[in-house]
């Protein structure tokens, strides 16, 4: 126990705020190039223990940092993220940089273009440090499905960081980046953020461009930020959000000033607490932490009332049918022809496809492709896929009705704190149930923020999930700010 605490103290470190770094860089007190170098030093020192970064983009990062320093030296106005070291989940492509999606099938792939979010961050002055480990094709809740080995949780390296964006969450928790990007299909931003004690944002479906995101389940996939505090996460979202002609589902709704909106007080906001998220399976220590968080929101002037979301218990089966069906279609592109891995020993084209896919994909990816192909196949489509899409409508309608009565809904982000490595790897169903509180918002397309809300008596972080209606991220940020301010 002694030694564990000692390790934790050396690995967990809160990043400086954007406001602080911005001031230091614009005044010249801190050079962007030195800041980037200090992050690379820290990565060199502890990445071996935690396996957070899969690859580094040093040359590009240092060039960007020098550009920022040149602007600062001339006294030119600096872009909003000038010199801020940021890490990118490996499911987002970066021109010329390894982009594996945590899969062996994309080992060595260096895409010829930047994801829209990558380009936007860089245009805003961010210094992109490298690519972050994740579950293969973002399929997993513990980061143990990465072909490049699991990420370890900086809070306790014997525990998982959550998944699939485990590297993105752990990087912020260990201060190996000031902020990061991840992707969330069924909870892949929110759950790891809660396990690692950082802020994670699920933007409304369509709010952030998916162009350049290696697709898992296209009707569910979202890109969103992680940061050490709510206001910085809001700033990041403001930079990556907005219409993109390269993504047909991208929303044209104007982008508010999320950071300024997050400053507004919560006095008078109506918050819903759904009993369905506090039932069987919720760890008592997590429940106690969330109840303290709700008390703090009451004390800050929120009106708290119960809301009913009775279809919640059907969300996991609905999610796994829809997500796997879409995955089986999306992952058909990995065929060993145009890019990625090709099996060397193939006598004909058909064998080349199946050998390449068998050798290139890991077990969980195959399991999901098979499940998705099965539920879409002749004779089963109506019973599984179509049925799931109908239940998806019921779940979404329930949220819309609830948001007629309340401004936001608060729940635990995960029923349990970070579990130990290997604890759930033998039973895919028990791993799927780790997403029980997050898949609902994914299916409904609504937005949410997870914010640290105290710890268990053993010192493991607990996250509160704040959900708001479509395109109402500002409200979720305000509530999350109030939880953060309570310093639980």
């Amino acid at each position: 126990m002694e030694s564990q605490t000692e390790i934790a103290e050396t690995l967990v470190e809160k990043p400086a705020t954007l406001a602080r770094l911005r001031q230091d860089i614009s005044s010249g007190t801190v050079k962007a190039a030195d800041l980037a170098a200090s992050y690379y030093d820290r990565i060199a020192a502890i990445n071996g223990q935690l396996n957070i970064y899969l690859s580094l983009t040093k040359e590009r990062a240092l060039e960007q940092a020098s550009r920022i320093d040149a602007l600062a030296a001339k006294g030119d106005p600096l872009p909003p993220l000038a010199g801020i070291p940021v890490g990118i989940k490996d499911v987002l492509v970066m021109r010329g940089a390894p982009s594996t999606a945590g899969s062996r099938i994309l080992k060595g792939y260096r895409p010829p273009y930047d994801a829209t979010v990558v380009a936007r961050l860089e245009a805003a002055g961010a210094v992109l440090l490298g690519k972050l480990n994740c579950d293969e094709f973002a399929m997993g809740s513990s980061n143990e499905n990465s072909a490049y080995g699991p990420v370890r949780n900086p809070v306790d390296p014997e525990r998982v960081p959550g998944g699939s964006s485990g590297g993105s969450a752990a990087a912020v928790a260990a201060n190996l980046a000031v902020a990061t990007l991840g992707s969330d299909t069924g909870g892949s931003i929110r759950q790891p953020a809660s396990f690692c004690g950082v802020v994670g944002v699920l933007p409304t479906y369509g709010r952030v461009s998916r162009n350049g995101l290696i697709a898992f389940a296209s009707s569910l996939d979202r890109v969103g930020p992680f940061a050490g505090n709510v206001r910085d996460a809001a700033t990041l979202l403001g930079i990556i959000a907005g219409h993109d002609p390269m993504d047909a589902t991208s929303s044209r709704a104007p982008v508010p000033d999320y950071a300024a909106e997050s400053d507004r007080l919560v006095d008078g906001l109506r918050l819903g607490v759904p009993a369905e998220y506090f039932g069987e399976g919720l760890d008592p220590d997590v429940r106690a932490a969330i109840e303290k968080g709700i008390d703090a929101l009451k004390a800050a002037g929120c009106e708290v009332r119960p809301v009913s979301l009775p279809t919640t218990r059907y969300a996991i089966p609905t999610y796994y049918l829809i997500a796997t069906a879409e995955a089986s279609a999306n992952l058909a592109r990995f065929d060993g022809v145009r890019y990625g891995y090709r099996s060397p020993a193939s006598e004909n084209l058909s064998a080349m496809y199946s050998h390449s896919r068998d050798e290139g994909f890991g077990a969980e990816v195959k399991r999901r492709i098979l499940l998705g192909t099965y539920s879409l196949s002749a004779g089963y489509y109506d019973a599984y896929y179509l049925k799931a899409q109908k239940v998806r409508r019921l779940l979404a309608d329930e949220f819309l009705r609830a948001f007629g009565e309340v401004d936001a809904i608060v729940t635990p982000t995960s029923p349990v704190p970070a579990f130990k490595l290997g604890e759930k790897t033998d039973d895919p169903l028990s791993m799927y149930l780790a997403d029980i509180y997050t898949v609902t918002a994914s299916l409904a397309g609504i937005c949410g923020v997870t914010v640290p809300c105290g710890t268990t008596p053993a010192g493991l972080p607990v996250g509160m999930q704040v959900l708001a209606r479509h395109l109402n991220e500002s409200t979720a940020f305000r509530v999350a700010r109030a939880v953060e301010a309570a310093q639980l």
């Binding site: 004909n348 098979l370 895919p428």
Partner: protein, 103 residues
């Protein structure tokens, strides 16, 4: 509806998905698919008669949902020279693959 997925079913689906499972992967896959399908059968408890399937959530966001399609005009694509070298086997004009038809 109790799922009863057999080895033959998994083989058929694997063929559809161009996945060749190694013999030692098969028993585990059959077991997992049965467990998962039995679990998702819970959905049959819900009456969804008259419920329209929801395929795309953009319609729910209160902006009318319409993310309009882009205009059908030609725009430059990625350069061939940047794309072809990523292929496992190429002459830089075509992708090369093993024989399609056995003679």
């Amino acid at each position: 509806m109790t799922a009863n997925v057999t080895v033959e079913d998994v083989q058929r689906v694997a063929e559809l998905a161009h996945l060749e499972l190694a013999p030692d992967e098969m028993p585990r896959m059959v077991q997992d698919l049965n467990a998962i399908l039995n679990y998702v059968a819970e959905l049959n408890e819900l009456d969804t008669a008259g419920v329209a399937p929801l395929a795309q959530v953009s319609e729910l966001d209160g902006t009318g949902g319409r993310t309009s399609l882009r205009k059908d005009v030609l725009v430059p694509s990625l350069e061939r020279g940047a794309v072809m070298p990523l292929a496992p086997d190429t002459d830089n004009v075509f992708f090369k693959v093993p024989k399609v038809i056995e003679r």
